[in-house]
Amino acid sequence: MIEGSLEVGLQALGAGLAMFSAFGPGIGIGLLVQGAMQAIGRNPDAASAIQQNMILGIVFTEAIAIYALVVALIILFVL
C-alpha cells in the first residue's frame, strides 16, 4: 500500500533520474585529474601550469553535472 500523493513521488523519482547523469562528469573529472597527476609526476616543474589547465577542464566537465542538478532542482521546486 502506497500512501501520499503520486505527483510528489514522481517528482522525486524524476529528480533522482536527472541526477543519474552526474556519473558521466564524475568519470570525466576522474580521467582529467588522473592525466594531470601523471603529468605532474613526470614533470613536477610544470605543476602550476598543469594544475591551472586541469581546473579549467574540471570546470567545463562539471558544468554538465550542474545542468543535471539544475534540472533536478527545477523538477523539485518549480514544477
Binding site: 602550476s48 594544475q51 579549467l56 570546470v59 562539471e62 545542468y67 542538478l69 539544475v70 532542482l73 521546486f77
Partner: protein, 444 residues
C-alpha cells in the same frame, strides 16, 4: 595532561569530542524542540521571494511593487554592491591612492585579490594593453563582487531572519507564536519538515490576517485549553479500551484537539495540544521570507552577469580584430574562396556551430554559478535541520571553498573567453612565442 602517553591523551580527546557531540545532539533533538524553537526547514523556492510575500505571478512582485515587492536576492545584490564600493573606497583611503610604501592591511587584501586576477589575465590574454587596461578591471570587478555576494549568504541571520507571512499553496510552513512584540515559528519536534499549505489553509490564514491578526484573550485561551485537557483525558480513557492502531488513535485525538482550537481560532489547521493552546500558538501555516537571501541563488543575477560577460567577449573581439571578428561566426572568406578551395567551405559550417557555442557560454556561465550556489544553500538548510550544531559548521567550511572557487571560475572564464575572442584565427604566432619561454616561468 602532558604526563599521559599519547595513546591515553588521544583517548581523552576522543572522549571530549564524543561528549560534545552528544550534548549537541541532545540540544538539537530535545532541548530546542522542547522550547518550541527547533530547527525548521526554510522555504525553498527558485525565484527570489518578495519581501511582501507576493509570488512571482502577482502584480506587486518585483521592482514595480515598491519596497514590499523587492525580492530578497535583489536586496542582497544591493548590499553586496555597497560592500564592494565601501571596500574600494576604504582601500583607496587607507593606502593613500596606492602610494604607501608599506601596505596597510586592507591594501594587502586588495593587492592579493587584484594580483591574483592580474596574473591570470597576463597568463591567458598576454601583455597587450587591451587586456591589462580593460579586461583586468572587468574580471577583477566580477571576482570581488561575486566573492561579496557568495560569502554573504554564509553570514548568520541571512536566509533566516525575515518577514512571517501566510504560506502560499504548495509551500511548507509551521505554526507561529507571538511573544515580546514579534512572531517566531513554533517548531516542537526534531526533524520536522513542516506542513504543506493548500489553498484553504492559505485563505484561512489570510482571513485571520485581514481581520486584524486578532489574538484571543488569555482567559479565552485558558478556558479552551482546560476544556480540551478534560475532553482529551476522557477520550484517551475511552479509546484505551478499544484496540486501535497508532494512526487511528492519533486521528481521534487530533479531531478532539481541532474542535477545541476552533473555539478560539477561526478555521485552524494545526490540532494544538492544551499546553500549546494555552501558550498562544497560532494554528495557521506560516512561512518566513528572509530579508536577505544569497544573491547568486537567484537566476536573474547570474544570468545578468553572464550577459555582461557575453557582451564583453564580443566587444573585446571587435576591439582587437575589428569587423573581422565576426568572420568567426559567418566565414565570408570561406565562401569567397569556395571556387579555389571547396573543402575550405566547411569552415562556413564550423562558423555556424560557433554561434551555438557562443550562446552556450551564457547558459553555462549562468547555470554553473546558480546551480552551485542554490544547491549549497539547500545543503546547508538540510544539514542544519538534521543536526543544529557542529555538522553545519563543517558544511559551511565546505561552502566557503565552493563559493570562492565559483567566484574565481566565473572571473577566469571571462578572461579565457575574452582572450580567445581577441586572438581569433591568427593567434598561432603568439602561441609559438610562449613555447620558447621556460615552462617554470608560468605562474598561477
Amino acid at each position: 595532561m602532558s604526563n599521559l602517553n599519547p595513546t591515553l591523551r588521544g583517548l581523552v580527546y576522543l572522549g571530549i569530542g564524543i561528549a560534545f557531540l552528544v550534548v549537541c545532539a541532545g540540544l538539537s533533538f530535545a532541548v530546542l524542540p522542547g522550547a518550541g524553537i527547533g530547527v525548521g526547514l526554510p522555504v525553498i523556492t527558485v525565484p527570489g521571494e518578495a519581501l511582501g510575500g507576493a509570488l512571482p505571478a502577482d502584480e506587486d512582485y518585483g521592482l514595480g511593487g515598491g519596497l514590499a515587492g523587492w525580492t530578497n536576492t535583489f536586496v542582497a545584490m544591493i548590499l553586496a554592491d555597497i560592500m564592494v564600493l565601501a571596500f574600494a573606497f576604504l582601500v583607496r583611503r587607507s593606502s593613500k591612492n596606492f602610494t604607501r610604501q608599506v601596505p596597510s592591511r586592507l591594501q594587502s587584501w586588495a593587492e592579493l585579490l587584484g594580483g591574483f586576477i592580474y596574473s591570470q589575465t597576463k597568463n591567458f590574454a598576454g601583455l597587450r594593453p587591451l587586456a591589462l587596461n580593460w579586461l583586468f578591471p572587468l574580471a577583477a570587478t566580477i571576482f570581488v563582487f561575486l566573492l561579496a555576494v557568495n560569502w554573504m549568504k554564509l553570514l548568520p541571520g541571512i536566509e533566516s531572519v525575515g518577514v512571517i507571512h501566510c504560506a502560499h499553496e504548495g509551500f511548507t510552513g509551521y505554526p507561529t507564536r507571538y511573544s515580546g512584540g514579534s512572531y517566531s515559528l513554533y517548531v516542537d519536534q526534531a526533524l520536522y519538515a513542516g506542513e504543506r499549505a493548500t489553498e484553504e489553509t492559505y485563505h484561512a490564514c489570510e482571513e485571520w490576517k485581514e481581520a486584524g491578526s486578532v489574538k484571543p484573550s488569555k482567559e479565552a485561551l485558558d478556558e479552551a485549553a482546560n476544556t480540551l485537557a478534560a475532553n482529551e483525558a476522557a477520550l484517551i480513557a475511552e479509546i484505551d479500551t478499544l484496540a486501535l492502531n497508532d494512526a487511528e488513535r492519533q486521528a481521534r485525538i487530533d479531531a478532539v484537539r481541532l474542535e477545541a482550537v476552533e473555539e478560539v481560532w477561526e478555521h485552524p489547521f494545526f490540532p494544538l495540544t492544551a499546553d500549546e493552546l494555552r501558550s498562544g500558538v497560532i494554528p495557521y501555516i506560516m512561512a518566513v521570507t528572509p530579508y536577505v537571501r544569497g544573491g547568486s541563488t537567484d537566476l536573474n543575477l547570474t544570468l545578468g552577469l553572464a550577459l555582461v560577460a557575453f557582451f564583453a567577449i564580443q566587444i573585446f573581439g571587435v576591439a582587437a580584430q575589428g569587423p573581422a571578428y565576426f568572420q568567426k561566426f559567418i566565414n565570408l572568406d570561406a565562401i569567397g574562396n569556395a571556387g579555389k578551395n571547396p573543402i575550405g567551405a566547411i569552415n562556413f559550417l564550423v562558423g555556424i556551430f560557433e554561434i551555438v557555442s557562443e550562446i552556450g557560454k551564457i547558459i553555462s556561465l549562468a547555470f554553473r554559478l546558480f546551480g552551485n550556489m542554490f544547491a549549497g544553500g539547500i545543503l546547508l538548510a538540510v544539514m542544519s535541520l538534521l543536526v543544529a550544531f557542529i555538522l553545519p559548521a563543517v558544511f559551511i567550511g565546505l561552502e566557503v571553498i565552493i563559493t570562492s572557487v565559483q567566484a574565481m571560475v566565473f572571473a577566469i572564464l571571462t578572461i579565457v573567453f575574452c582572450a580567445q575572442a581577441m586572438e581569433g584565427h591568427h593567434g598561432e604566432e603568439h602561441h609559438d612565442d610562449e613555447h620558447d619561454q621556460p615552462v617554470s616561468n608560468v605562474t598561477i
